[in-house]
């Protein structure tokens, strides 16, 4: 067998002098005859300074390249999200940057940074927040000023919050696309429960409830100089820089922060076997249990590090890789992760694999056997030595750049590692014995109490997952759209007043009898739509048939398109072919037909116990009465009726499109008489307060002869 190539990098003193050395081995193969010249390396040591406002700095001057970097660390994190607003802190971090500052509009901020090829970025992790600056050395002064501005004076502009919320919601909609993400979300939630910060995940409702005030409160709570550390590296002069920092942070006071209590779990593992259906040719499996919460004095750390490298974190040399991939060809990606740095909770320890469906159970049992092996049998001496050598020899890669070194120092301090952690690291690894590895395996690995999450298609599994325990089948639903806003409670007076307003309107439109004779409406006109590429003109022809049919023919520059809905189902005719309309869209169409003023007023007269009066308002210079009525979808329709003409001048309502609530308005004017009925000829639609379409009708016909084929899908 091979002999180990005994080489090591040793931290000698506090000045961190690394020595790489080696002795020759006696074996014949060329690589084993090598000796390795010792290398002496004194990595730069960050200088620790405290600003007058309490901010801690780790500084390394590095004049190799004309660059300047700051990595900031804030004591906060996802764990401080309120339970009913999960996702707040990550949205906060994003909008802290995109929302600009009090004195810098977002566009101006972006322009200023990018025109000097600089960046300021804000991030959020489970147990900390980050803020980074990167500039060329020539722009340090401006860079610092902007960095401080973002830290101190973020504006959290409403529109940027709204955009970020929409993006979060879209990501929620997409979160089941990727089987690994799907498995991971459920794995954490199974271990911690969805009411624990380590187990919860964002939902649309929570995201929607986040307000600018929430972001401001989060900032006010955690973003203080005494809660911030900066690792600063690059081409600068320390004393000049300190003076610059004092200046940009002048007047920023430290503050006492009451950190909310984070619930800690009792990490007693419990066996559970979970299955999520996804029709794919490969299963994703996560197998594990609670991880390890680090304590300031954490003697098991080194044996654990060695153990998990042997198990599955040591790349191609690890056991999981060798067994599952190299010997059995059961995976491309396989390994294990053991977090040992969380300080509030133990995190998650897990092994993972992606294996063809027909070998799912085989791969799971192979992984479990590998885990058991570490508990049952001491690690052979050569494997132990190889792993320790690997950790010791690669240690130098933690010191490749000054930014890495400074950041590492700051992080160790943040996480409360022993001050001599780095200096004693290689010695401590070298001391680990096979008995130590087996002891930590027995203490921390529990192959009899594993949480298993498998995403795949069990119809094609090699064996049932029952052999691992009773299977809990998790059903994944596409996030549901939020429920309709209910009608407010109304007094009898409100209802009576509503009837009065509607009755006046019915008269103004031509009288109930007249309105009831209208069986269909055919309108033609020209519309301007605000499309993503600018205003677009289209010719529109609309057929409405009482009570529930609607067809629209659109002529656009790029071709013709039609939508038809027959009261039950619908289809779209496009240049690319015919497609059925999704149920969501047909629901919108039902509401759309319901909103036709002619029929709307008639139906409100008939079914008047559901309507309410909601006061008056000023709309476009006229006083209007507001009437509320439920639409077929359940969403409330707000109708604005002029107190002068008794015409409907505006309607507003909410539509929920694929989980996202959108506020819309329809503005009606240019009322003209058509066969004794008043019909608006100018219709404007706003979406979220912005003009979306504007339509002018040039002809409206009532009770036209219509062909049934309009609503038949072409074969």
């Amino acid at each position: 067998m091979k002999k180990r190539a005994f080489t090591g990098i040793v931290f000698a003193t506090l000045v961190a002098c690394l020595i790489v050395w080696g002795i020759p081995s006696t074996f014949a193969r060329p690589h084993e005859e090598l000796t390795f010249e010792p290398i002496e390396f004194k990595p730069p040591v960050p200088e620790k300074r405290i600003l007058s406002n309490g901010m801690t700095l780790y500084l390394i001057e590095d004049h190799e390249l004309p660059l300047f970097n700051i990595s900031g660390l804030i004591k906060t994190g996802d764990i401080y999200d309120p339970a009913d607003k999960v996702g707040l802190s990550s949205i906060f971090a994003s909008v802290m940057r995109t929302g600009g500052t009090v004195s810098r509009e977002p566009d101006a901020l972006n322009e200023e940074l990018e025109s000097m090829a600089a960046s300021v970025e804000v991030g959020m992790s489970r147990e900390y927040g980050t803020i980074n600056l990167s500039t060329l050395a020539e722009d340090i002064e401006t860079g610092l000023e902007i960095f401080a501005d973002v830290l101190r004076n973020p504006a959290f502009r409403e529109d940027k919050l709204e955009l970020r919320k929409q993006q979060s919601i879209e990501r929620i909609r997409r979160r089941n696309d990727n089987p690994i993400q799907l498995a991971w979300r459920n794995f954490s939630a199974l271990l911690y429960g969805t009411d624990h910060p380590f187990g919860w995940y964002t939902e649309i409702e929570g995201i929607e409830s986040i307000t600018v005030d929430d972001l401001k409160a989060f900032h006010a709570k955690y973003y203080h100089p005494n809660n911030l550390m900066l690792a600063i590296t690059g081409d600068f002069d320390t004393e000049t820089l300190i003076a610059q920092l004092e200046k940009v942070f002048e007047g920023w006071e430290s503050a006492d922060i009451a950190f909310p209590d984070i619930p800690t779990v009792d990490p007693i593992p419990e066996a559970s076997v979970n299955y999520i259906f996804k029709d794919l040719p490969q299963s994703v499996m996560l197998i594990g249990h609670f991880g390890i919460k680090r304590t300031p004095d954490f003697p098991d750390f080194f044996a654990l590090r060695v153990m998990n490298d042997i198990l599955g974190e040591g790349g191609f040399a690890s056991r999981l890789m060798k067994e599952v991939r190299e010997k059995h060809g059961l995976a491309y990606m396989v390994g294990s992760i053991m977090p040992t740095s969380y300080y509030t909770n133990p995190g998650e320890w897990f092994a993972y694999s992606q294996t063809r469906t027909e070998k799912t159970a085989e791969a799971i049992s192979l992984i479990i056997d590998v885990v058991k092996g570490l508990r049952d049998t001491p690690v052979p001496e050569d494997e132990l030595q190889r792993t320790k050598d690997s950790l010791i020899n690669s240690f130098v890669f933690g010191f490749e750049s000054s930014s890495q070194i400074a950041f590492q120092q700051m992080m160790l301090a943040y996480r409360g590692y022993a001050p001599d952690f780095l200096e004693t690291y290689t010695d401590n690894i070298a001391k680990v014995t096979a008995a130590d590895v087996q002891a930590v395996a027995q203490k921390y690995l529990h192959p009899d109490a594993l949480t298993i999450v498998t995403v795949g298609n069990k119809a094609n599994f090699d064996r049932s997952l029952d052999e691992f325990g009773e299977v809990n089948e998790i059903e994944i639903k596409q996030p549901a759209p939020p429920p309709a806003e209910p009608m407010p409670e109304a007094s009898e007076g409100d209802m009576a007043k509503a009837k009065e307003v509607v009755a006046a309107a019915v008269d103004a439109y031509g009288g109930l009898e007249k309105l009831q004779t209208v069986k269909n409406i055919v309108a033609e006109g020209r519309a301007t739509a605000n499309s993503p590429m600018g205003p677009m003109n289209l010719d529109i022809k609309e057929y409405l048939i009482y009570p529930d049919k609607l067809r629209q023919d659109l002529k656009m520059p790029q071709g013709e398109m039609s939508y038809a809905f027959n009261g039950t189902s619908g289809f779209a005719l496009t240049p690319m072919g015919t497609q059925p309309l999704p149920p969501e869209m047909t629901a919108f169409m039902k509401d759309d037909i319901f909103r036709q003023p002619v029929w709307l007023l008639a139906s409100l007269m008939k079914d008047d116990d559901a309507i309410q009066y909601a006061g008056t308002e000023e709309v476009m210079g006229t006083s209007v009465a507001i009437v509320l009525a439920p639409q077929p979808s359940g969403e409330v329709l707000k109708i604005f009726i002029s107190e002068e003409t008794h015409y409907i001048v505006k309607m507003s309502f909410r539509e929920t499109e694929q989980g996202v609530a959108v506020n819309k308005e329809v503005i009606l004017d240019d009322y003209r008489d058509v066969d004794g009925v008043k019909v608006p000829h100018h219709i404007q639609q706003n979406v979220e307060g912005e003009l979306f379409t504007e339509t002018r009708l040039n002809s409206v016909m009532l009770n036209a002869e219509l062909d049934d084929s309009l609503f038949q899908e072409p074969k």
Binding site: V20, H31, P580
Partner: protein, 505 residues
Amino acid sequence: MKQIRYLLVLCLIALHGIASAQDLSDRVVEHIFPNGLKLLMIKRDTSPTIAPYILFKAGSVDESDDTRGIAHMLEHMLFKGTETIGTKDYEKEKVVLAEIDRIGDALDMERAKGSRADTDKIAELEEALKTQQELAKEWIVTGEYSEIYTQHGSTGFNAGTSVDYTIYTVELPSNKLELWAILESDRIKNAVLREFYVEREAVKEERRMRVDTRPGGKLYEQFMAAAFTAHPYGIPIIGWPSDIAMLNRRKAEEFFRVHYAPNNSVMAIIGNIDIDETIALIEKHFGDIPSQPLPPEVTTEELPQEGERRVDVEFDAEPQLMIGYHKPTLPHFDDYVLDFISAILSDGRTSRFYKNIVEKGIAISVDSLNGYPGARYNNLFVLDGAPRSPHTTADLEAAIYAELERLKTEPVAEKEFKRILKQVDASFIRGLSSNAGMARQLTFYEGIAGDWRYILQWRENIYKVTPEDIMRVAKTYFTKSNRTVGTLVKKAAVAPAGEGTEGSE
């Protein structure tokens, strides 16, 4: 090993600079050995580490019809050891390996008959193969080659196969340079492609992971296949499943013999080195590898596209979009202009896509990439993104076209120009701060552009781009008939019976 698929977007934009252009040309030391091997070095003493990389100009485009996927498969096999590493006794092992090849071939041939295959014969052969594989285990030391690197403190030990090339990467403490030279030259001279059929299963898993279970991977593969009808750029690097199933050791060895020649490779060693000693060391270990005649370049040319191509991919996932326009590869001047255009469209929060598409809520992501899937031959300018509901891929497509149209008609403002040029220069300087990054850049441009100085010329050319060039290039390439559009479409749910039928009882 983990291949770097889909061409590493070796962001051109991640290099180059005024201040440092001169610096770089001074710092790169070039040495060509008599056998044609080219060595590029930069001495950088910030830490006692090195990044030695080797690139072979052998990618999936160099395969033939019956060896699709072999470049990538070979890359995996080159981690299996040599005649002295990964074995206890190669002479004895060799006999078993030959038997495994014989049975494996017979098995593949029988399976390839599909429905007409003799299932008894397959079972018999599978049994025989298993027996031989068990026998081989007596001699094989699984994973030893990787273990040696790991033990000596390697990081980033890996390899990647693209359409154009295969690259072998690692970083080591700087006193391990000779170890690297020994191990790498040993694998070029004496590689043994053992455990082939087991690794072939791992490659199939890789394909399932990257393509079959990943919406973006699936779309990319179908999109490329539609965009290229003649040129092998349309064929997936990893190979089609049925091609992978027919790969064997003989084909891998042949590809290895033909393409892994010193005169077809570039080596970069960046870090804490002594230049002269390094040259001597490489000479000592690689100097005796003979140069050899190289196979011809791909001669098949893609015809000009004569009409838009559209491809839908149904998948259990939310919609995504890819659009690609054919264009010439480097060093054509228009390729520089398109690099510039890509920066205008999608670099940063001041970019047009970010401001006019992402901030308008039309998409959660949208990007532009010049030079897919490779750069040795004429390639594509690609735009991709994911719409934000209720917007559809059609909305996103329209929004992208609106931006491309704007490029044709509106001259780019001076402010935008200045910003991009400053970023070009800054990212050049930033690129110099990593050994591994420099090793990758130098091997790539030397291997693919034919000269690492392309990095310097690139910057000069980018500075030559004018607003008129941008309008001209946009008009030339961003045409409907020159584009391919791929859309990931959510698989329609099967509607419960009786729903949506009109007028039936």
